[in-house]
């Protein structure tokens, strides 16, 4: 485990930075070169993070020594794999300060977690049932994975879909909150941190209003869990979702945390092995949560990998990761302001914002920006970032997005800025 403390006298001397030199040693891919020997500068962390060796080792060790299907086995491999899989659940529960391990459901990604909640509420009995007399509230800032499941639910149940708009500076417009969230609202689902704008949203205000009207609150923490301490109890939400691959974990694993009473009361979504108590041809009864929501052979190795990721992140400390990214983001916002014609889409200062920065560069299309940066070894994402309504809101076809993580450095910010200058010259 890397200690992560910053070595004294780092080049840029930004306070709060981690010892990225040590951390980067853990990530094999960061030593790769691209396009004929250029060092890789990976600034696409909001799309997916890289994986430390500790995570890959845990997954390999699992397959090479312990793999078997989980639950109900009496042989030693089945016992070991079950202990590892359920042990990963304990780790994730501790990581998000869940009151109980049984509140942690493993899914395949955040998108499945969100669909799971939407479907549970569509099939639920009262008082949870979403139907044609009720409303569902989201925001214009959401990732498609937190829009489309609710559109499908609304179409299929006749419920009304409403949303909070955005202010010009990239924040939620909550000015008419009492008109958006009403007595008819059954559920309010929103992101904690935006994957395009970087905005950190004011959870308390929304939770307070939702509780007033008895609506359930779903928090999409996909861009929060990797980057800052996440405490589901202090959030006050009813469901929290996130995804493993953005937080140093493997692909193929996501998490749904839900309050125990809700998971007990709500109906299952996917049916199959593992999620049942007893089955006859005529009827089945279901296992208690979390198993009720985990049909079929679960992503065992991926859960083990996520457990190792959570250990890795906790070993460094989520507070310190947040501090590192905050310092780096402030530095990047300052440096990007020097680039002519560059327009930040989202908050322009470091307050209440994560380490994701979207921008446009004059009228050079983001595809061109991204491609010319790539030729210099700099990986950024371009497009609508699965949040097309945000682009529509700000009247742009797409953005270029740079996003940082615990291994990102000020030198990489500098390289980005130099790369953007080159892009301007190239197309100028």
């Amino acid at each position: 485990m890397t200690d992560g403390t910053q070595a004294p006298g780092t080049p840029h001397g930004l306070p709060g930075l981690l010892d990225t030199e040590a951390i980067r040693k853990d990530f094999p891919i960061l030593h790769r070169t691209v396009h004929g020997g250029k060092p890789l500068i990976y600034l696409d962390n909001a799309a997916s993070s890289q994986k430390p060796r500790q995570v890959l080792d845990a997954v390999n060790e699992y397959y090479e020594r312990h793999h078997a299907n989980v639950h109900r086995g009496v042989h030693i491999l089945a016992e070991e794999s079950t202990a590892l899989y359920e042990g990963a659940r304990d780790k994730v529960a501790a990581f998000i300060n869940a009151p109980s391990r049984d509140e942690v459901v493993f899914t395949k990604n955040a998108s499945e977690s969100l669909n799971l909640v939407a479907n549970m509420l569509g099939w639920a009995d009262d008082p949870y049932r979403v139907d044609s007399r009720t409303e569902v509230v989201i925001t214009e800032m959401e990732h498609h994975s937190n829009i489309v499941p609710w559109q499908l639910l609304a179409q299929r149940t006749g419920a009304t879909l409403k949303w909070f708009g955005l202010t010009d500076d990239g924040r939620l417009d909550l000015s008419r909150i009492d008109e958006v969230i009403t007595e008819r609202t059954k559920v309010v689902s929103f992101m904690l941190v935006s994957n395009v704008l970087g905005t950190v949203n004011p959870v308390d205000e929304i939770v307070r209003r939702a509780q007033e009207v008895g609506a359930l609150v779903v928090v999409d923490a996909s861009q929060a869990a990797p980057h800052m301490p996440l405490d589901v109890q202090s959030l006050g939400a009813d469901f929290v979702v996130f995804t493993g691959h953005k937080m140093c974990g493997p692909t193929g694993i996501g998490v749904l945390w839900g309050r125990q009473e809700l998971l007990e009361d709500l109906p299952p979504f996917l049916g199959g092995g593992e999620m049942i108590e007893t089955v006859t041809m005529h009827a089945s009864t279901y296992a208690p949560a979390p198993h009720k929501f985990e049909a079929g052979t679960p992503p065992i190795a991926q859960a083990v990998g996520l457990g190792a990721a959570v250990d890795y992140l906790s070993g460094i400390g989520m507070e310190r990761i947040a501090e590192h990214e905050h310092a780096l983001t402030a530095y990047a916002l300052g440096r990007l302001a020097e680039v002519p014609d560059l327009r930040i889409i989202g908050p322009v200062t470091g307050e209440d914002r994560g380490a994701t920065i979207s921008f446009t560069l004059g009228d050079i299309h983001p595809h061109d920006v991204g491609q010319v940066l790539d030729e210099q070894g700099i990986a950024v994402r371009v497009g609508h970032h699965c949040a097309r309504p945000v682009c529509l809101r700000y009247g742009i076809p797409a953005t270029t997005r740079a996003s940082f993580y615990l291994y990102s450095t000020p030198a990489e910010v500098d390289a980005l800025v130099a790369g953007l200058e080159y892009v301007r010259g190239f197309f100028g």
Binding site: I364, H365, P366, H367, D368, Q371, V372, E375, V382, G383, H384, C391, P397, A398, F426, F427
Partner: protein, 149 residues
């Protein structure tokens, strides 16, 4: 990928602007938001004009300019042959080195050979060409087009 020829067409597009036409289409690449509005005007089966407005990346914009160069003044039959050749090149995944015949047919458009290596960008290069074909089908009828292929 960004050959000088492409950059030149991007910075100084040929035939840009909307002029009179027999049919107009609007095509969008939903993944990146590239857009083009394109009109064709035919005199019999001769392409009298291809006019367009658009926004998007250098590849999609330059490709429309090259299209204008290559197709205006041609007979439909010949234009379709050019279009097919361009399609073949773009779908080659960078594995095709244009031969003399291809270079003769495609002129500036051979510069897009490098683009074919980038699956995400091939659609950009093809946007105006798909729009042109669609507009032609509207102007002359599907059958006129099919007969020629």
């Amino acid at each position: 990928m960004y050959q000088d020829v492409i950059l030149d067409h991007y910075k100084n597009p040929h035939g840009r602007g909307l002029r009179e036409g027999d049919a107009e289409v609007h095509h969008v690449n939903p993944t990146c938001g590239d857009e083009i509005t394109l009109r064709v005007r035919y005199e019999g089966e001769r392409i009298a004009d291809v006019s367009y407005e658009g926004q998007g990346c250098s590849i999609s914009q330059a490709s429309a300019s090259v299209l204008n160069d290559l197709l205006v003044g041609r007979e439909l039959k010949d234009a379709l042959a050019v279009q097919e050749t361009f399609l073949t090149l773009m779908q080659s995944k960078g594995r095709l080195t244009p031969d003399d015949a291809m270079e003769e047919t495609l002129e500036d458009a051979v510069a897009f050979a490098g683009v074919s290596k980038y699956p995400a960008r091939v659609k950009c290069a093809l946007l105006s060409w798909m729009a042109w074909k669609d507009a032609t089908a509207q102007a002359l009828g599907e059958t006129a087009l099919e007969e020629k292929l």
